[in-house]
Amino acid sequence: MGGGPPPSVSLSLFVKEIVVEKNDFKVVNKRVLKMDSLGLACGEPVFTDDVDINGMLYGRILWSPYAHARITKIDTKEAEKVPGVKAVLTYKNVPRVPHTTAGQGYPEPSPYDTYILDNKVRFVGDRVAAVAAETPEAAEAALKLIKTEYEILPAVFDTFEAMKDGAPVIHDEKDAKNIPDARHNIAAKFEFEVKNGEWFKDADFVIEHSYKMPYLQHCAIEPHIVITCFDPFGRLVIRTSTQVPFHVRRIVAQALKLPVKKIRVIKPRIGGGFGSKQEVLLEDIAAALSLKTGKPVKIEYTRKETFISSRTRHPSTVRLKTGFKKDGTITDAEMDIVLNTGAYGSHALTVMMCSGSHTIPFYKVKNNIKFLGRSVYTNLPVAGAYRGYGATQGFFAWESQMDIMAAKIGMDPVEFRKMNYIRLGEGSPVFKAMGEGREGVEQVITSIGLYEGIEKGLKAINWRAKKEKNKGGKGVLRRGLGMACMMQGSGIPEVDMASATIKMNEDGSFNLMVGATDLGTGSDTILAQIAAEVLGVKAEDFIVYSSDTDLTPFDVGAYASSTTFISGNAVKKTAEKVREMIIAVAAKILDRKKEDLRLEGGKVVANDGAACGLSEVANTSLYYYDQHQIIASASHYAHTSPPPFAANFAEVEVDTGTGKIKILDYVSCVDCGTAINPELAEGQNDGAVLNGIGHTLSEELEFSSNGTPLNASFRRYKIFNTLDMPPIKTFLIPTFEPNGPFGAKSVSEIGINGPLPAVANALYDAVGVRLFDSPFTPEKVLAAIKKAGKK
């Protein structure tokens, strides 16, 4: 089969696929300078740790040396005597409130299985006690003097072992809530089936494989950090490196039994999160120390603590069984995912559901679909949100299996995908059946540029010519090509909500206050661009302030690829309200009808050419006539989650002597609708792809047989540097999403899903061996090559 439109759809439907409305955007879809980049490039003190607070105490946490144990005795007397020590906390003197640390909408879909401190420890690196002291040295000395006796319990590290009858029960506490089957360590479970006939009846072939991913850490370069202090009214102020300031306020209030009104959460600049900061990780314990001492307290993780005691990606085993016909029709799909959620069930249900809800609808399955998901407790570090959020685990399986299926029927893998991916106007029963933690929302695809993305990628990597050249490769170094396609979402439909406020100033500038949380992504900038586009001004005319629970309106925070789509729509609506208010004032100044006025170039302009400046409008409203503040707020809540789509391509060279895979070229084509700021969108994708390449070739957090992490440092957990990186080319494929602000969809997560399957497929193309568990280290590749050679 050659290029051209996929055979399974009518030409007219295909032609509509790229729906780029002719646009004449002035600010949106332009390379506007990221507004915080000047301060950041100059090293201005903008991060959580960059303030000096008088009388601040240093908080330190005592970590469990055991994977599973009960604290039988804990004596803090000696620790309290250390000069400078102001407080020592154990489970005995903090409130016991079961809660989740997952920063999600309320009521959270994660089980309430966590306590500020408990009399039981559930992994090596779990909290035992906390100290606040005048110096870090005093705090560390005190930790050593806490006398703890443990009853060591049998531990379990494997999810399948943990589900067996008689396995150690990790959450045997009576007051935990929403654990579906604590006795079998099941933190979350979800099943779903669409049945249109007998299973695999129409299939010419049935293929089944299991795909595994290990413990992976986010490695944001800024470690987790929080400073808690008090305002002049005695309210608790939490300055924290978080993706979810409003959820932090709510969960800290819950855990410490405080009224929400007694807490203010401030998010300064954040040094990267990637999901690890969608979590209440330190805020509760620092707040407890501040409340105990009446003093400001700072807790900052070391890099080692970040690896062990923050959050990780959920290690996964995905069993995928697919039935398909000789003509390329996929008839049946059965996906069974088991996630390791570690000692606590943070994001246990939702990551598991997204592994299916973001992947299964991507290809049309004619007859039957079954999904079974379980998230299982083990005595290992706690998993949580991580860029890709389950879709990464799911697409490794799906996109590897697509190549295996194509090979089985002798079809080109690119054509096989083109034939089967979801089209414009199509839906899937999965959208409705599987949401995040609950039933989803019915939706159809309203924008998709995947066909063009695939074509662009094939050309950019020179697919056809290289395929020809690589044929019958001989020698030690073999080259291969692989590709993978994928989608993600744009926010959680009918769950996520964002809001914004815009206030006009005398000089025609505006304050834009958003709950949306810029964690380094550039969301402050793109939200200003959206507002500026509506109001006919420049992005620089906005002073953006984000994520302060006292001063900005609510937003769920930065996760689920929601900010551009949901917060962006909230900002657009807010700006439209402000535009109406400006026009009302200008109509009086200019003595023209409102409907004859428009905002453009920093002015209000009438159809007949009469005009007035925005500062005149502002001054009139503030000082001269019908005095009022031009200010508005609006919220947005979406009923759909339009997926971005991507096609990724990898060219690899495999050293058959050593097993080393070298990625020679990587091309990633992304349809994110209108890129509000193309440069920032590219940057999001570049970073996501390189993170995914790290997952593919080197990253894995390893453990000893008693659950102790073995490589919790940058020296031993290998992330990619400038010399390791392959050339990565990101191409943005413009489409227009009718539900998005100025046609935009999300872009931040999707790129991380591509490298694992694309490289797995390229490896197979190069040397004819397939790996089902990441990372693809030289040892594994070499062993697979040797095994294949023996057959």
């Binding site: 980049s37 950041l40 490039a41 090293g43 990267g272 920032l680 992330i719 540097n721 400038t722």
Partner: protein, 158 residues
């Protein structure tokens, strides 16, 4: 835990200073705590990530691995001390902004210092030299593409 007090004389960002110093201080602690210069970051504390890079006598060093007392008689330049020709923005700071190389920005002061050390020594650094020169600076946001192009672009405006 009393540590010896050390009399440190050195130059910080072009200004000669004298300080009584706790001799157990790392250079990074001295910069962030004693001097209050917050542009230099701690990302790992073990010399792996490069967020704490500073120039000592023009050479890039991980300030978390050097003791402050080793600064005696030497010249320290932090990100706050980098200036352009007329005292304005340094060319690297400008190109990092223009190329969109700044995402979260936490690693950027270190990356700029690494690039500055490299380009002082070799103003005609090739793209391969630049990759090698920045190999000690981890960035988890950008995938490095835009950082490398920012360094490349800055060569022509030094």
């Amino acid at each position: 835990m009393l540590n010896a007090i050390f009399k440190l004389k050195c130059t910080v960002n072009g200004v000669k200073i004298e300080r009584d110093l706790d001799s157990s201080r790392t250079l990074l602690e001295f910069i962030r705590v004693d001097l209050g210069l917050k542009g230099t970051k701690e990302g790992c504390g073990e010399g792996e990530c490069g967020s704490c890079l500073v120039l000592v006598d023009g050479k890039a060093v991980n300030s978390c691995l050097m003791m402050a007392v080793q600064l005696q008689g030497r010249e320290l330049t932090t990100i706050e001390g980098l200036k352009g020709r007329e005292g304005g923005l340094h060319p690297l700071q400008k190109t990092f902004m223009e190329e969109g190389a700044v995402q979260c920005g936490f690693c950027i002061p270190g990356a700029i210092i690494a690039a500055e050390a490299l380009l002082r020594e070799n103003p005609r650094a090739t793209s391969e030299d630049i990759k090698r020169g920045l190999t000690g600076n981890f960035c988890r946001c950008t995938g490095y593409e835009k950082i490398l192009s920012a360094v490349e672009k800055s060569k022509s405006c030094r």
